[in-house]
Symmetry: C2
Subunit: 210 residues, 2 copies
């Protein structure tokens, strides 16, 4: 029963952080919304940062399941589309983290270490996938280009939602904009591909830029 | 004399916002540091947001001088390096804006419109430069690739400092990291270039990734 309350606190906090922004939600708001006493909430979590840390850990472990390259064969472009979809879905589900990333990671050392680790692992994963594509000669790129591209892929994926917001996108378009983010990442790869694959990506991409 | 105080307030606010982060600086801190009374400060500016808006306007007009394509000839790669340097220097000088961009633009409508306009103009400028390179056959890219690349260039440039921070870069490396940002943007172009220019960029880039 206790652990059920704990999970309910985490689930509801995630919803409230995503909807209102983490800085605008207090532990009292969360307790109110759950109709439990603040004391009951504090029985499960020391403070709001404790809740945020647990949500970070969930985010990290979900991202870990996304960041898996096929072990027994070379990665294909289809693998990359799929990974991108899963990664963007995960980022969307935990969008409060990405929205306030700089603040969250600068005010809390644990979160900073968490996030640096997520980025490092993702960088390694993306680099491995791109090296696989280069070995299979689907993509033509130097080692330096692959590393720089892996960094750009992470940066575009991480800050896509923020970029859309600051350039004045309409909030009601958020779902389409997310799809557009996947397209933007694929466009980072397109110019490195063989002509056949490059054309193939552009055909597939038509579905993404409505 | 009055206008001199006004400029001093703006200059010092910029320094303090950059050093401490805009949310951590109040008008009282600024008045204290300048050794003027809060009343004197309020004679010149209604509130802190008024100061921030004036600094945004300065940032916007400086960015406008950067975003100028050569009128009488096709743009070259050297033009792009130069533009990138000027743009990154400008972003560095006003780094408090980029650090808290999402918060600043979501809490204040004027700033939101300002920034959306800056991004729109930059997108147009970058697209024009890339179209010029494509016409000169220095670069091989479809219209769709050019537009997607222009967006990626803006996104990488805008969030480069934030990305570095969240992946745990050392603050004392900030200047080198800025140079690395210019390199990352050039790497967005490299794969579209003719082999000669692509190689040329890689040679130039060596200076950027020490």
């Amino acid at each position: 029963m206790a652990s059920k309350t704990r999970d309910r606190i985490l689930d509801l906090s995630l919803v409230m952080f995503n909807e209102r922004g983490e800085p605008n939600v207090t532990t009292n708001h969360i307790a109110d919304e759950l109709e439990i006493s603040p004391g009951n909430l504090y029985y499960h979590f020391r403070n709001k940062d404790d809740i945020v840390e647990h949500l970070f850990a969930r985010y990290e472990s979900r991202m870990d399941t996304v960041m898996v390259a096929p072990e027994d064969r070379a990665p294909t472009l289809e693998d990359i589309w799929l990974q991108l979809h899963l990664a963007f879905e995960c980022m969307w589900d935990y969008r409060f983290i990405l929205r306030d990333l700089v603040d969250l990671t600068s005010r809390n050392r644990k979160l900073r270490l968490h996030y640096a680790r997520i980025i490092k692992r993702a960088q390694q994963n993306v680099t491995d996938v791109l090296l696989g594509l280069a070995r299979a000669e689907v993509m033509r790129a130097s080692r330096q280009e692959i590393e720089a591209t892996a960094t750009n892929i992470l940066l575009v994926a991480t800050f896509w939602m923020n970029f859309n917001q600051v350039r004045g996108a309409q909030p009601e378009r958020a779902a389409q904009d997310l799809t557009r983010g996947i397209f933007q990442v694929m466009m980072l790869l397109a110019p490195f591909l063989r002509d056949t694959e490059r054309l193939h990506i552009h055909t597939l991409a038509q579905a993404y830029v409505k």
